[in-house]
């Protein structure tokens, strides 16, 4: 009996699925697919981009001469790149606040419990289903100098037609308008979810105190959804910095580089002109900008955001 028990115990220890080593092995097995994929398609290319940025690399990916920080210094001496950065920041500053304010307005409206509200929620969320290519193509038509509805309406009002996409004064604004429209859907959905998660008892006690609609909106709803607003702001900023499709279809970066915002600039430099090294330096700048912006946001956000 005793030997039997010992044998059993020994076997059990060897095969114990909860030993630290076994657990680590099992854990890794489940994580293996994500680790391999993130390694190959995210971490490795990030380091590779950094590496490329110090070399001359041809369009085929052939690494030639080590150039040190030359790409970086020529980036900041290049008036084109400075212009691209400036356009990028202006673009982000126009789109992010506008799309969040509109989406918040719609989410507040659509959080009312009314008959048929589901229909309105679908309409407001609809642009989440619109691709950059399809959305931009519709706006290409809307902005058309002679056939587009915008200039037709201006003409009806007796106002001169505007060259929405071909004047350097308007092109960036036009692309920003398109982008705001396309981003409203996702911001709306997240904000609506946030508003619906606010504890109803807060409103009930406010009702007892006789609080009006706007008092409740500004004293309860908006403070309570501040973590959600914070999250939406971060994804809106990152989304705007990553804009590509609209630019490619609407303006191709023009006129005179006025809409050549950073991802488009990287794409052109790499895949049109074949300067992989120089383009990689731009990609690193993009990475650093996003890093700095999100870090600042977290620092500021941690202080200001109200968590339930």
């Amino acid at each position: 009996m005793a030997t039997n028990a010992n044998v059993k115990k020994g076997r059990k220890q060897r095969r114990n699925p909860n030993s630290a080593g076994r657990l680590f092995g099992t854990g890794m097995l489940y994580l293996l697919p994500s680790l391999v994929l993130l390694g190959v398609f995210l971490f490795y290319p990030m380091f590779r981009t950094l590496y490329f940025s110090f070399f001359d690399v041809t369009g085929g990916g052939v690494v030639q001469d080590f150039v040190g920080t030359e790409h970086y210094s020529s980036l900041f001496e290049s008036s084109e790149f400075r212009k691209s950065l400036k356009s990028t920041f202006i673009f982000v500053l126009i789109t992010v606040p506008t799309e969040i304010i509109i989406a918040l307005f719609l989410a507040v409206l659509a959080s009312e419990k009314l008959r048929g509200i589901g229909f309105f929620r679908m309409i407001f969320a609809s642009t989440l289903g619109v691709s950059a290519a399809a959305g931009a193509t519709i706006f290409l038509f809307i902005f058309h100098p002679s056939l587009g509805v915008l200039n037709n309406m201006l003409g009806f009002l007796g106002i001169d037609a505007i060259q929405w996409l071909t004047s350097s004064k308007w092109a960036l604004v036009s692309v920003a308008m398109t982008t705001v429209w396309m981003h409203i859907g996702i911001n709306f959905i997240i904000l609506l979810g946030g508003i619906q998660n606010v504890d109803h008892e807060l409103y009930e006690s406010a009702d007892i105190d006789g609080a009006g609609y706007f008092t409740k909106l500004f004293k309860i709803t908006i403070p309570m959804i501040s973590p959600v607003l914070f999250f939406v702001t971060i994804i809106a900023i990152i989304g705007s910095f990553q804009t590509f499709g609209q630019i490619d279809i609407l303006t191709g970066g023009g006129p005179a580089g006025s809409t050549n915002i950073i991802v488009y600039s990287i794409f052109q430099e790499a895949f049109r002109f074949g300067n992989f090294g120089f383009a990689s330096a731009q990609a690193i700048v993009l990475f650093l900008i996003i890093l700095v912006v999100t870090t600042i946001q977290y620092i500021v956000g941690e202080r200001k955001v109200h968590y339930q």
Binding site: P33, L42, M46, R48, T127, G129, A133, I189
Partner: protein, 268 residues
């Protein structure tokens, strides 16, 4: 009274927001001369533009490619992300916090900053113009891992303990308990994955050179390049055709998407 004002605001907002899509729909039913006349609505609803669009470019083929690409990414993400999320919740191994933190950190890497080496990887693997090249890089989605991890954490530990006592292996628990108990989050991830993949633009533009696996989004760009000067009704017909699948999916799955995205927002 407040109700009336709310309805008026709702209707006005809906009209403004949905105007571009309605305008595209209206233009897709027009004759070219109606477009030139700057009309808002067609005299007769004509489906000619759709017919011509399908003849002018292999739109059906592009739709087919986009469907399979989105489907493969969706399935890939569901498998890869749920396995990772399961490890983070149900397997208490050493170092999982460090690994989870590194998953979090990937949110800081803009994917666009990595396209150059990724393009070279796909090129060197011989995956240009293949579904592999279109889909593989997107199977691991940290956001999906967070979403499912959140849901798995709501599964009571007691279920796992009693299952373990009955001799249920970890993998069987994953298949028979964890996944079926997380249908809503899996649906959210599935819809999100399908939608975002269908709508992808930059990556398919880079890794497709010919029609073999050309997606609708890139097909649309080619159509504009060829036709926009003359046939806007045709271009708008193609736009509407591309929009219908994603809009339908969004409308059907709106509830899941909302819950899934909000869960991500609250946890951060």
């Amino acid at each position: 009274m407040r109700k009336v004002i709310t309805y008026i605001l709702l209707i006005l907002s809906a009209l403004v927001l949905f105007f571009p899509i309605l305008y595209a729909l209206s233009a897709s039913f027009m004759q070219p001369q109606e477009i030139y006349a700057g009309k808002f609505l067609p005299e007769d609803v004509s489906l000619d533009a759709y017919k011509t669009a399908f003849e002018r470019i292999p739109l059906l083929h592009y739709l087919n490619v986009s469907f399979w690409m989105s489907f493969f990414v969706m399935i890939g993400q569901l498998i890869v992300c749920s396995l990772a999320a399961y490890a983070f919740v149900f397997i208490p191994f050493k170092g999982r916090n460090v690994i989870f933190f590194s998953f979090l950190a990937t949110m800081l890497i803009p994917w666009e900053a990595t396209i150059i080496p990724n393009y070279l990887t796909v090129l060197n693997l011989g995956w240009v113009d293949t579904y592999m090249g279109l889909t593989f890089p997107f199977f691991a989605l940290p956001f999906g891992v967070f979403l499912l991890r959140q849901h798995f954490m709501t599964i009571p530990a007691s279920i796992w303990e009693s299952a373990q006592m009955d001799g249920c292996s970890r993998f069987r628990f994953y298949l028979q308990f964890a996944l079926p108990l997380s249908k809503s989050s899996l649906s959210a991830l599935a819809i999100y994955g399908f939608l975002t993949t269908w709508n992808k633009y930059l990556w398919p533009l880079l890794v497709t050179n010919d029609d073999t696996v050309r997606t609708v989004q890139i097909g649309l760009k080619m159509l504009i390049a060829n036709e926009s000067s003359s046939s806007w009704n045709l271009v708008m017909a193609a736009v509407i055709t591309i929009l219908i699948p994603t809009l339908l999916l969004l409308f059907v799955g709106m509830k899941y998407i909302k819950e899934g995205l909000t869960a991500g927002a609250v946890k951060g």
